[in-house]
Amino acid sequence: MSMGTAAGSWQAARIVLQREWLLAVRRPAQVLQPLAFFAVVTAMFPLGYTPELAKLRAIAPGVLWVGALLASLLALEHLFREDASDGTLEQYVLSGQSLTWLLLAKTIAHWLLTGLPLTLMAPWLGVALGVPLTAAIGVMGALALGTWTLSLLGSIGAGLTLGVRRGGVLLSLLTLPLAVPVLVFGARATELAIVGDSPTGALYLLGSLAVLGLTLAPLAAAAAVRIGLE
């Protein structure tokens, strides 16, 4: 496992990011579908529960978070699968660059193309659930940090399920229990923002999870992808 030079690593990461960006531009459906999914799931709740905004506001944190969680998982299924089947991941392994580093770049791209759009969309979906736009900053802060940690956790799960037939369900089964702390702190921060309190405490906890995930998850994801490619 030879490590590239620092400059080479930056360049490699930039190339990975550029490639992901190009792929997303050429195949926009992959980026747009999770967003549409998020909107559809959110719209089911007023229909299935009640159109009263006061009641919807009470369950809004849970709805937004579960919706974002599932939409993000949906996109994670494709994080490594295509690249594994067309040999790109093998080239990453053989490139002489640190696989951890390349996969981190790929995960960052995934977050920029899924987590960030979901975050930007959440306040508008919140409006449909009776959430005031004044809560937008808190809602987006929580979702930005939370989806980031989810992308990292999901990169481990996506790596582990590489060699599995119909790995999508398994990916959810592996990732969702691990995402419980993100859900707990994220929904709490959102709730605090909605009722007009300061969500800072919960956001700090989310932030610490994000840092912990950034520290450990890429290593585990690289190990998982190596095993999956054997």
């Binding site: 060699g163 790995g167 398994l170 089964l173 969702l176 419980v180 906890l205």
Partner: protein
């Protein structure tokens, strides 16, 4: 030069471990049976009913040891998986594989006994009590581990992939427990049972400790039996098996 690691490396040899596990099993099984029987007698007959919970508290003698084992087994499983990953020791992976099913069942037992206890005490089978919730998440973690193992056909790859998952899980379990605790303290007033644990009278405590011992020994015995079965399954084409089974 000075340290002799031969004893450690012998644990990498399936025939050696197979024989050793067979020799050790009765040494765990019999003490387990004796201490569980003694603890049952002590807990169900000798111990007085609880002054608040009446006879209902006696389910504790199954519930608490199961809950302890459900977490302990995950730690054992992750340790074995880590050893297997680092030293590429197949037997350690086999040990981790034989832990998963037992751990999942003890988690189920602790959940079911917790629910049975909750019906008379809380008036309902299920309350989103932090410890029950954490146990439920632990069950999902076990199910994910078992699911990943059965999803990959190649044994070596299934071993290593599930080992990574077990290690990720072991980092996550304390965080999950803490977050669920925190979540619950916001949403729900402390339940009736959150009273300070009074020091148990000896005639209640001794059977409980005996039960902890008995359950742990029982786990060791069952794990060794399952480890032997797992080794047989993996080594079914090896020549030593014919000799061992003669």
């Amino acid at each position: 030069m000075g340290t002799n690691w031969a004893w450690f490396h012998r644990f990498g040899s399936p025939p050696h471990v197979y024989r050793l596990a067979g020799l050790l099993t009765p040494w765990f099984a019999w003490p387990a049976a004796l201490s569980i029987l003694a603890a049952l007698y002590g807990g169900l007959v000798l111990a007085p009913p609880d002054y608040q919970q009446g006879e209902g508290f006696r389910i504790l003698y199954v519930h608490a040891p199961s809950a302890w084992l459900s977490v302990m087994i995950y730690a054992v499983m992750a340790t074995a998986a880590g050893i297997g990953l680092i030293w590429r020791m197949k037997v350690a992976h086999a040990a981790a594989a034989s832990c998963a099913g037992i751990g999942a069942w003890f988690t189920v037992v602790s959940l079911v006994t917790g629910m049975l206890w909750g019906k008379p005490m809380w008036g309902t089978y299920w309350v989103w009590d932090p410890r029950l919730t954490a146990q439920l998440v632990l069950l999902f973690l076990y199910l994910g581990y078992i699911g990943l193992r059965s999803g990959i056909d190649d044994v070596g790859r299934a071993d290593r992939a599930s080992a990574v998952l077990a290690l990720v899980g072991v980092v996550n379990i304390p965080i999950i427990r803490y977050s669920v605790e925190w979540w619950n303290s916001i949403h729900q007033a402390p339940s009736v049972m959150k009273m300070e644990k009074p020091s148990m009278p000896m005639e209640m405590l001794v059977p409980l400790l005996l039960m902890f011992l008995g359950f742990t020994l029982y786990f060791a015995a069952v794990m060794l039996v399952r480890l032997r079965a797992e080794i047989l399954r993996r080594e079914r084409s090896a020549s030593w098996i014919r000799e061992a089974l003669r």
